[in-house]
């Protein structure tokens, strides 16, 4: 089997497809979280001024939530890569030998 047959194999193509599909889904979630927040700031200020505690505004909660949400997304990616992606990579590496 040549290197080209290998990269053209369904298994390899599946690895590439899975990797980018997952990446773009994660990127889309990041966009929704971040731009959702930014558009609330630009257009719906009343909502951000809602009090959720004694002098703690929705704006303050959301700003922290965006940072924590982004952080969680990176952790989800690492867990996914360690469990799903790396397994596929290992299996393909074995096929190569």
């Amino acid at each position: 089997m040549t290197a080209r047959d290998f990269t053209n194999s369904e298994k390899f193509k599946d690895l590439v497809r899975t990797r980018w599909t997952f990446s773009f889904i994660m990127l889309a979630i990041l966009f929704v979280i971040y731009y959702g927040y930014i558009f609330l700031v630009a257009l719906h200020r009343d909502f951000l001024a809602v009090m959720v505690g004694r002098n703690i505004t929705m704006g303050i909660v959301l700003c922290t939530a965006v940072i924590i949400g982004s952080w969680i997304l990176t952790l989800v990616y690492v867990v996914w890569a360690n469990t799903v992606y790396d397994k596929k990579v290992e299996s393909l590496k074995r096929d190569l030998q």
């Binding site: 773009f24 990127l27 303050i60 997304l73 990176t74």
Partner: protein, 513 residues
């Protein structure tokens, strides 16, 4: 309370000298391990994911974000927090799109990745110039900012501050290369996170550890200022989208950040390093607004503006109030270490673009001995270091705040589209990449000059020709469109073949350096 800020402070100098001595000892040991180019630029690929995560945090969290964001929150409240969020969101994107393939395809610079399957000459020059422009803008902003901060904190003459930063940074980079730079960045990140944590705990203790009490005090003290709600930073959705794109994708085009990914042994460690970096940076940006709000209450806006009109001294003043002169000294030394670490990372990135991308790969066509490469690398470090000090002094009284925005806009528009498409898109051609870098970089620069930040604030014209604060939404789109259209018009079968050949390396890491 009378502040001692701006007077020579014994503890500050003591802490500063300790940090410098300690980092120079590390540099001494790192120098022994720095003989080859791979050791000079990539620390022999021996850095672990955790160490690299800390070093990335140390490379990224500048004095401007520590002192600037806390000051912005102290003076204008919530807007400073919106800014802090923007500085973080690029990290997950870096993880999803670039980190692993970058590590697998590159050697020392991101230009290696773009050039790997395209015609090396033109693309190296274009991406090295794009990278250098970003690093240059960033460095000038850092040098001018740091000179002023050191002047404010230590009462030292501006020029002397520039020279001290330049000399100490040169010692690290010249002798210890990437290994010493990595450790300086790790130490700085630890000190910064520790210092900010202590500052936050001491500040919250004044409010019975209740954020609610803190915000109540803020509202009571400044009832008219609407401190807890968004102000003028984000008003138009298009402007917000554009600034967001620049911050998010600019990170993916910063050469000094991308370069750090070549210091880890493989893609798995590269991935881990982003997760650790995001953890430290995220924590930092969550905590830093609290410091700002506490400074507004405990020091008072007028007193903060009294020390520095831009509010940059809010955090140091708060440190002095809560922990006395010793703690102020510690925080001042941390700010100084912060500047050193960031400038060292930038210098190394500039040197790699000049010597590895342009001298070795273009002029010498890759035919240079190991000794010659390291020698040229060191010469370029000295050239860039001297240039940084000279520009810092030259731009002393200039308004350079726009340069960080410009660096991010160029990074997002010139470097990122070419890098990303060369990883992902089979049909990318040399012409497409070169034109994309040129169009993205030039559009971003011209639009920033015509925008309110430069046209009105720096050049003192009445009204801006380009109304938005950040051009990324147009310049980045232009770069992508040009890359795609030109690549389709100039098909390059060899590059497409090479793209297929590289796949095993890109996805499995087999054959990676």
């Amino acid at each position: 309370m009378q502040s001692t800020l701006g007077q020579p402070n014994g503890t500050a100098i003591l802490f500063f000298v300790l940090v410098v001595i300690f980092t120079l000892i590390i540099t001494y040991f790192a120098a022994k391990k720095t003989k080859t180019t791979s050791e000079f630029y990539a620390a022999g690929r021996s850095v672990t994911g955790f160490q690299n995560g800390l070093a990335l945090a140390g490379d990224y969290m500048s004095a401007a974000s520590f002192l600037g964001i806390s000051g912005m929150v102290a003076l204008s409240g919530y807007d400073g927090a919106i800014y802090a969020v923007g500085w973080l969101v690029g990290w997950p994107a870096l993880m999803f799109l670039i980190a692993e393939p970058l590590r697998n395809l590159g050697k020392f610079t991101f230009a290696d990745v773009v050039a790997s399957r395209l015609k090396s000459g033109p693309i190296r020059i274009a991406s090295a110039v794009g990278g250098l422009l970003v690093v240059l803008c960033y460095t000038i902003a850092q040098m001018v900012g740091s000179g002023k901060l050191i002047q404010l904190m230590f009462g030292m003459p501006y020029e002397m501050a520039e020279i001290i930063v330049g000399v100490v940074m040169l010692l690290y980079v010249l002798f210890g290369g990437m290994l010493a730079t990595t450790w300086v960045q790790i130490i700085k990140a630890v000190l910064l996170v520790f210092g900010v944590t202590v500052l936050t705990v001491l500040a919250l203790a004044k409010f019975d550890f209740s954020l609610s009490n803190l915000y109540t005090e803020v509202v009571t003290m400044y009832p008219a200022d609407n401190m807890l709600n968004p102000g003028g930073l984000v008003t138009s959705p298009l402007d917000a989208l554009s600034l967001g794109l620049a911050l998010m994708f600019g990170l993916l085009g910063l050469p000094h950040i991308l370069m750090r990914f070549f210091t880890v042994p493989d893609a798995k460690e590269a991935r881990k390093s982003v997760a650790y970096a995001t953890t430290f940076i995220g924590y930092f940006y969550i905590v830093i607004p609290i410091v700002g709000f506490a400074a507004a209450v405990l020091i008072g806006k007028d007193a903060i503006k009294g020390i520095d009109a831009g509010g940059n001294m809010a955090a140091p003043a708060l440190a002095e109030l809560l922990g006395g002169t010793p703690f102020l000294g510690f925080i001042a030394a941390v700010a100084f270490a912060t500047i050193l670490a960031v400038v060292a990372g930038l210098t190394l990135a500039a040197s790699s673009a000049m010597s590895h991308d342009i001298y070795v790969s273009v002029f010498k066509k890759g035919h240079a001995t190991e000794e010659e490469q390291v020698k040229v690398a060191r010469i370029s470090v000295v050239i860039f270091g001297l240039a940084a000090v000279a520009m810092g002094i030259l731009f002393k009284d200039q308004n350079v705040a726009f340069l960080v925005g410009l660096a991010f806009a160029i990074a997002a528009s010139a470097n990122f589209p070419a890098l990303f498409l060369s990883i992902l898109w089979k049909k990318m051609s040399t012409q497409g990449a070169v034109w994309s870098i040129l169009v993205g970089g030039i559009t971003a620069t011209v639009l920033i000059i015509l925008s309110p930040t430069v046209w009105v604030k720096v050049l003192h014209n009445e009204a801006a020709i380009f109304p938005m604060k950040n051009p990324a939404v147009f310049s980045m789109t232009a770069a992508f469109v040009v890359a795609i259209v030109v690549s389709l018009l100039t098909p390059e079968p060899e590059a497409q073949e090479k793209f297929e050949d590289d796949k095993i390396r890109t996805y499995l890491g087999i054959g990676a350096e």
